[in-house]
């Protein structure tokens, strides 16, 4: 178990949790945006520039990187107006590739060689940030806003018929995703003190997507999926070479036997609802008798 408490594993888990949450919000709202590596790259490079060239502190730089990640979702949001589902996934993938392509040919950021020498960020700050984001995401997901997102995800037509302005909520879900991805990118830059366009490839999206599918489309599911799949290869080091294949098998089995993920329902809601429903017990009894 010592390996689980080592700093690199904790940092990896914290960053992966942030990234999985950033994919959760658009996906919960039915916006299949795979632009995550692009937002992450924007956050990482901006935070690097702010700390190294402008002499900012790491904290404000990460915050601004998050905002920049959110702002960089605007072109993606415009795509959602015209395209949906799997087609949107492909279009956003292409847009993210364009962002990364820009950085891999942009000389001031070191092109494909990448950049190094960012101020180092202690692991406990990463953990605090990740925990804060998990709590905030759970609260947001359980709020009225979160319920609207889930409604939009399960049936946009019905949600629109109930007077919810779909584009607004889809844009908002993308922006939240961009915010989290931008912060995760900045954390990545400051923890590893090295970034290159290779870090923001397609494989990043697919890994995070697997975490989300295994965990389920809820904040706790996302956190659980990210933690389990990130730590498994670290614990079973003898199987390190086969780790991606193990991921693959787990995802295949999950997709067949538990398609909605480990935590498909919002467990927090469940706890609250069961407590409240004690009061309603008598009424439910009556209803069943009528039927």
């Amino acid at each position: 178990m010592d390996i689980l408490l080592s700093e690199p594993v904790q940092a990896l888990v914290a960053i992966n949790v942030l990234l999985t949450l950033s994919l959760l919000f658009p996906f919960a709202a039915g916006v299949w945006s795979l632009g995550l590596p692009g937002f992450m790259a924007v956050g990482a490079y901006l935070s690097t520039w702010l700390t190294m060239q402008m002499g900012w502190q790491v904290g404000p730089a990460i915050a601004v990187a998050g905002l920049a990640g959110a702002a960089s979702t605007i072109p993606f949001a415009l795509l959602t107006l015209r395209i949906r589902d799997i087609y949107l996934a492909i279009a956003t993938l292409a847009a993210a590739e364009l962002i990364v392509l820009f950085f891999s040919h942009f000389k001031p950021t070191g092109a494909v060689m990448g950049m190094t020498g960012m101020p180092y960020l202690e692991v406990h700050w990463l953990l605090i940030l990740a925990t804060g984001c998990v709590v905030a995401s759970s609260l947001l997901y359980n709020s009225r806003f979160g319920k609207v997102l889930v409604a939009a995800g399960s049936d946009p037509m019905v949600a629109a018929c109930h007077g919810l302005n779909m584009p607004t909520f889809q844009f908002a879900s993308l922006a939240i995703g961009g915010l989290l991805a931008g912060m995760a990118g900045a954390c990545f830059a400051h923890y590893y003190s090295f970034i290159s366009p290779g870090n923001f490839g397609f494989h990043r999206t697919t890994d995070i997507l697997m975490f989300l599918v295994v965990g389920g489309l809820t904040p706790l599911g996302a956190v659980l999926g990210a933690m389990i799949l990130t730590t498994i290869p670290q614990v079973i080091t003898s199987l390190e070479k086969w780790a991606p294949a193990m991921y693959g098998c787990i995802v295949l089995l999950m997709a067949v036997f538990r398609p909605a993920g480990l935590l498909p329902k919002n467990q927090l809601v469940k706890i609250f609802v069961t407590k409240k429903s004690d009061k309603n017990k008598s009424r439910r009894h009556l209803v069943s008798k009528d039927a």
């Binding site: 395209i83 993938l93 599918v213 693959g248 997709a255």
Partner: protein, 290 residues
Amino acid sequence: MFTQQLVNGLMLGSVYALIGIGYTLVFGVLRMLNLAHAYIFTSAPFITFALIGASVSPMLALFLGVVGAAFLGVLLYLVAFKPIPPEHALGGFVASLSFGIIIQVVIVNFYGSQPKKFPTILNLPDFNLGNVILSGVQIGSLCISASLMIGLLYLIKSTRFGRNIRAIAQNQMAASLLGVAVPAAVLLVFFMSSALAGLAGLMVAMRFESIGAFMGDMYAIKALAIIIIGGLGDVRGAVFAGLLLGVCEVMFQAYAPPGWSEAFIWLFLIGVFLVRPEGIFGVGIKTREI
């Protein structure tokens, strides 16, 4: 120089087209992306490589490479598409990706991640036409892919099997009510599409005489661009878009600053989505349908 580049572009484009045809056929019948396609592309040269290592005759090894890839495709359908509940929106996407990753990890663990030398199987002479040099392998694979493309276009347009596939692509429920054996047709589509991917993989391996576990990655996302520009489910479109992108890529690499050839593909892809979502020939699946 320009003619040479054009020929190189057509060569690359014919590989793209072979990959794209299989990809677009599978999308047509299932409405799901088969992300394992590029990994099946990689598996065929490795099957051939392993068989040649086991002293099977090279021609037989080439044939078995294609057949092996085809059966891998059937296995892919049975494992990663058939058992997934249809209401699982992302199911086919992640399941096929996982299958592909498993193939890749198996290859990496048996052959390492470094590129390997692929043996020269066909010793064909080079042709010199004016100032254009064509290697024998290049001409051979250009001929094979051209005849395959024509054959496939005929198959899709004029045979019973082709009509069945197009019917399934339009409306699976209606097709099955009208007596199309949907499961058999889908299996056959997977068989064909993977055989084509395997063949493309072998052509690339024979051309560059080098294979690596990650050789499919470059083609994986570009194949997406090809099937969308051509129109999802449209075989003619896949052929045309494959050739077009191959030529454009080589031309951009030759005459434009680095990076522009890829940027061109992505911009073209997004542009097609925004302006003409049904693809260049306008008979693919429209993206706005609900």
